[in-house]
Point group: C2
Chain length 349, copies 2
Amino acid sequence: MTHVARIDEGARTGARRRVDALAKPLGALGRLEDLAVWLAGVQGTSAPVPPREVSVVVFAGDHGVTGDGAVSAYPRAVTAAMVREFLRGGAAVNVLAGAHGARVRVVDLGVDDDLTDTPPEVRRHKVRRGSGAIQREDALTVDQALAGLAAGRAIADEEVDAGADLLVPGDMGIGNTTVAATLVGTVLGLDADQVVGWGTGVDDETWRHKRDVVAAALERARPYADDPVALLRSVGSADLAAGTGFLLRSAERGVPVLLDGVVSGACALLAERSAPGAVAWWCAGHRSTEPAHRAALASLGLAPLLDLELRLGEASGALTALPLLRTAALLLAGMTTLDSVAPPVPEQV
Amino acid sequence: MTHVARIDEGARTGARRRVDALAKPLGALGRLEDLAVWLAGVQGTSAPVPPREVSVVVFAGDHGVTGDGAVSAYPRAVTAAMVREFLRGGAAVNVLAGAHGARVRVVDLGVDDDLTDTPPEVRRHKVRRGSGAIQREDALTVDQALAGLAAGRAIADEEVDAGADLLVPGDMGIGNTTVAATLVGTVLGLDADQVVGWGTGVDDETWRHKRDVVAAALERARPYADDPVALLRSVGSADLAAGTGFLLRSAERGVPVLLDGVVSGACALLAERSAPGAVAWWCAGHRSTEPAHRAALASLGLAPLLDLELRLGEASGALTALPLLRTAALLLAGMTTLDSVAPPVPEQV
């Protein structure tokens, strides 16, 4: 049972009042104003500060959907290779985190490789190698789905206990947009055509195969549309289960999250269904080119900060948006008030 | 006569090749990839660096359109008051520049105040106090329009000579969105209804008056639609003339520009008409809520990086987008290549 922490409405009201008094026309900073007010609510102060301890967690896993023919432009072995690259520091997430002062942690939940050459903490939460082919079998057992959720919760706790004031979920896993599209389609009652995208860049033939895979998986998953745990067992994966647990725990602990692309969007949808109201703790960093992501954000009522046609995953969209969050807080803290600049505006000019 | 500097196509090709080799699916970084390639072309190197010496110039002026009844939510005196605030450091542009490591220069081209309490360099390029009421008289004399253009060119030269590697035009002036809408409407042959927006936040009655003012000004300006200098004289202002000269000179000097909102959009439209191809040196930081801005960007073929409903001016949108430009350069420089992560992908997976 998830108990969502309360947003500080008093802090929001105070921040809105401050925003409205700044030396600018009412509303002229547009969505940066809303962002400052959101930060106030999640930080519990009408004077929010730019997030300083930003923790990125990349949840990695492989997916059985890649077994019956391509649903991705890349072979499964790329997942393990990229996990190793995250540890070496040459991936997009590393560069972005370095540029914007965030730390990156990569966690193997279900990579189809033992990764014995990686540090034990990378593998500590491993649930299994790969997952079932969701077009015809369950992705996980119930125990594995619960283990994935628990791992995500534990990781959120570790990060928050280590001082994180902003959590950023990332993902790595060939085939994961297929799983995410299935989850979003099931929860929102959409058809495969409405949720399947080009992922990392498939061709038309692969897209059609991917759509057929998702259509079959949607068929299998329909009975569980209202049961997040059953959904993760039936058509999810250990890495998406962990992403979901991570988001649920953030909302329990009252720590804000900057969401990334379609994978964290699918997790957010499941988490919000498990714990209505949790979405108040999350901000959408960007909108990717995946149709399932657009649908998930719309359902969650989240307007993305960026829309730059990114489709990489790894938390790359969220980290690209991170400076906007900081900018919003700095504007609120640093701008003078209109009253101090000019006398009050008369009713009739 | 403007001689637009050449974009380095070789550098662009080299940067594109590098982008395509990075450890990510082809195109997965979306518009950040295009941004890195643009930077390569304007910096003349296939290994572009994040802009370091960013110079923001706020062009300030008052506008005769504010004389016959309100076109703005604010009285004219706010222009001079905000110029003083820019010098004190409490305006949005100051906070944003401080956050993102840019320097701010404010230049009075046509503020309706002698501003004798400000440093002489602020007033050195002053053309006149205010401008004509463009719904019924010329904004400037020809000599004043040319003086404004020359001032903008001189300022660009000063900034580039001082080491600027990115120029950012800003604006301050009650009534300036009315002038910008008129210029955009004239150049693109649009009606007042298609270009007039809510500016800093007018009410419906003020919007209708603003539309009538723009309709009258458009009528006056139509004969000069193809003559940028005559347009600036007839329905422009000294501050928009300077903004236009600033952009023209940037393209001659071969220094990139990050554009702000509708005012710099109108200047860009005039400058591109004067010197076709100059637009290659400019990047659109954001899209404001002003319809004339949307029209100007579409005509220029510029896709804005941000669309956050900002409508403040002062270079606030451009500065909010600045981290994206730096992020794009850092990704290109810092990411490893796909070949180094995983063996080449076979044709059939």
